[in-house]
């Protein structure tokens, strides 16, 4: 990857579209996604179930289900290289290094009948053929703060938090420059969750590795990411610095999501700030949030809003943006 010009982002996704299913029943899981991750940066991708965030994450590693899902538009560039049309053999060279991924449920991604040591060694061998295996495996375990005895154990003998650390060790074995973590702590207890997120933060600094954390949990992303992207119905609808997005959300959906994740009564004595539920994925003309939006006007229902700059690097897609800013 040494041919990369220094100005090129580590990851750049433009107007990405991913569809599932046969032409007669196409589902647009990702309809229009924009995403950028710079080297060493921690970026959060937030949204509710069905918003396309996991599909987007999988598309970044060419992991869409074969023959069912495909990239139907837009562009993915990794370290300056256009990978949008990559074939499986070409992807194989990129997975692990420069981009690796950890998933929500480590148990279903670890081989139940192979010892942890062999599973970590397999990943090390993928990209470092000449390295001495045993010391490298020990080094990886040390990075994720697991005892060496784990090498001789099987996945079922470990706790959920330890399994997630093993997944991390396997991912780190490839020396990724970008680690995509899809709901890395959702299945874990709160105290374990805090430990794993702290570990991810430490590793990021230690290894100068960028992080893309995909989660429904805005509270978690708030504390561990430099920048945030909010997704709704297959579209990135707002993004910017974490503090800016959380403190001054511009899109009504983001505002509702933040209010709802507080689980505190608003001024009206209610917990809920968002009406209705996440819509089924379908093609519609206007803003996908319009049916749930209290301020929706005709233009919202008829036309897709463009990207508007809120401040500097903070962007959102909402027709109401100009007037709302004036009111605030």
């Amino acid at each position: 990857m040494s041919t990369t010009a220094p100005a090129e982002s580590l990851l750049r996704v433009d107007a990405l579209q991913v569809t599932y299913g046969p032409p007669s029943h196409l589902v647009h899981a990702v309809a229009d996604a924009t995403l950028m991750v710079e080297a060493g940066e921690a970026v959060g991708l937030a949204g509710e179930s069905g918003c396309g965030k996991s599909t987007l994450a999988r598309a970044l590693l060419g992991l869409l289900p074969e023959r069912v899902g495909r990239v139907s538009g837009g562009r993915i560039r990794i370290a300056g290289k256009d990978v949008t049309a990559f074939r499986d053999t070409q992807w194989a060279a990129l997975r692990g290094h420069p981009v690796a991924m950890v998933f929500q449920d480590p148990l279903s991604f670890l081989n139940p009948v192979v010892r942890i040591g062999a599973q970590i060694a397999e990943s090390v061998r993928q990209h470092d053929r000449d390295v001495a295996l045993a010391p490298r495996c020990r080094e990886l375990l040390e990075l994720v703060k697991l005892p060496e005895t784990v090498l001789r154990q099987y996945p079922h003998e470990l706790s959920g938090g330890m399994r997630q650390r093993v997944m991390l060790a396997i991912a780190l074995g490839c020396r990724p420059r970008l680690l995509v973590a899809d709901e890395p702590t959702t299945a874990l207890d709160v105290t374990t969750q805090a430990e794993i997120m702290a570990l991810l933060g430490t590793l990021r600094g230690q290894l100068n590795m960028a992080l893309l954390v995909v989660s429904h949990d805005l509270g978690l992303l708030r504390w561990h990411c430099d920048r945030l992207y909010i997704m709704y119905a297959g579209r990135t609808i707002e993004w910017g610095d974490t503090v800016s997005v959380i403190d001054r959300p511009a899109h009504p959906y983001t505002r509702g999501l933040i209010a709802a994740s507080r689980l505190q009564r608003g001024s009206n004595g209610r917990f809920g700030a968002l009406r209705g539920e996440v819509p089924a994925l379908e093609q519609r003309l206007g803003c996908p949030f319009a049916p749930r939006c209290a301020d929706a006007e005709t233009v919202c229902r008829d036309c897709m809003p463009d990207v508007t700059a809120v401040t500097g690097a903070h962007h959102a897609k909402c027709w109401q943006l100009g007037s709302r800013d004036a009111a605030a």
Binding site: T191, R222, I258, A260, S261, Q264, G272
Partner: protein, 260 residues
């Protein structure tokens, strides 16, 4: 007299070849009328076992469960069934809480034994804001969204006019925006009918939002209990402090934020 009282309840699970696990160890607690007690703990703390003991879905090794002053452990058969009508569970995973082969109508009719009329079933659905109610009655659980299914499980619990709802992680499976809506619903129901809640959760934010009192459970025992604001702002047990420190909210540490 408290609505629900657990007195020195213990439960040990034994399995051949595995050392016995004392899941609940000498726990006493009360739920008063019209209040919400949050039982907070992590996985393996014994909180769900305690819920099942309170419902007498399993029997305690020691101690007793008093509901409305009557000892549940002494009851059996019909008498137990009658007592249980007033205490209803709402579980975490609404997708497995229903028989998939029964329509919403059948599911509700089985619970609403006192008045299984169509009008009453519709009224139940409307109480949990499932509208329009009539066409929903013919649907199957898998045809509903996750949020709708959780509302349906609350409607089923309400069908017997319970005085206590034991809710085990009622929001865990729901999306962020839907969670707040269901919380509003639970709050409205308490206001209307004075129903009490035993809320079992790992989520301190939820306990803060909704409960009057908190009991913190750790390794089978209750390590701390008290009024919700007191426990959140001045925790005395090290484990409670660890739990509070681990919470990641959009606003910052829980102890600094105003409580409900």
């Amino acid at each position: 007299m408290p609505l629900l009282e657990l007195r020195h309840i213990s439960k040990t699970f034994t399995r051949r070849g595995v050392s016995p696990l004392r899941a609940v160890d000498d726990v006493s607690l009360t739920v008063e009328r019209g209040e919400c007690l949050a039982l907070v703990g992590e996985s393996g703390s014994g909180k769900s076992t305690l819920a099942r003991l309170a419902l007498r879905l399993i029997d305690a090794d020691e101690g007793e469960v008093l509901f409305d002053g009557a000892g549940l452990h002494k009851l059996s058969g019909n008498a137990l069934r009658q007592a249980r009508i007033k205490m209803q569970p709402v579980f975490q995973d609404a997708s497995t809480a229903f028989n998939p082969r029964r329509t919403v109508r059948t599911i509700l009719r089985q619970a609403a034994v006192a008045d299984p009329s169509e009008a009453h079933l519709c009224a139940l659905l409307e109480r949990v804001e499932l509208r329009p109610a009539l066409p929903l009655l013919a649907r199957y659980p898998n045809e509903l969204s996750g949020g709708q299914r959780q509302r349906l499980s609350i409607a089923r619990a309400l069908a017997t006019e319970p005085s206590l709802i034991i809710a085990d992680e009622p929001l865990s499976g729901a999306d962020v925006s839907v969670r707040a809506q269901i919380l509003d619903l639970l709050a409205d129901l308490q206001e209307q009918s004075g129903v009490s809640y035993l809320l079992i959760t790992h989520d301190i934010l939820l306990a803060r939002a909704f409960s009057h009192r908190i009991a913190v459970m750790h390794q089978g025992s209750i390590v701390e209990r008290g009024d919700t604001p007191t426990v959140l702002h001045a925790p005395t047990h090290a484990y409670t402090r660890r739990l509070l420190d681990a919470v990641q909210s959009v606003d910052g540490p829980v102890a600094d934020a105003p409580s409900a």
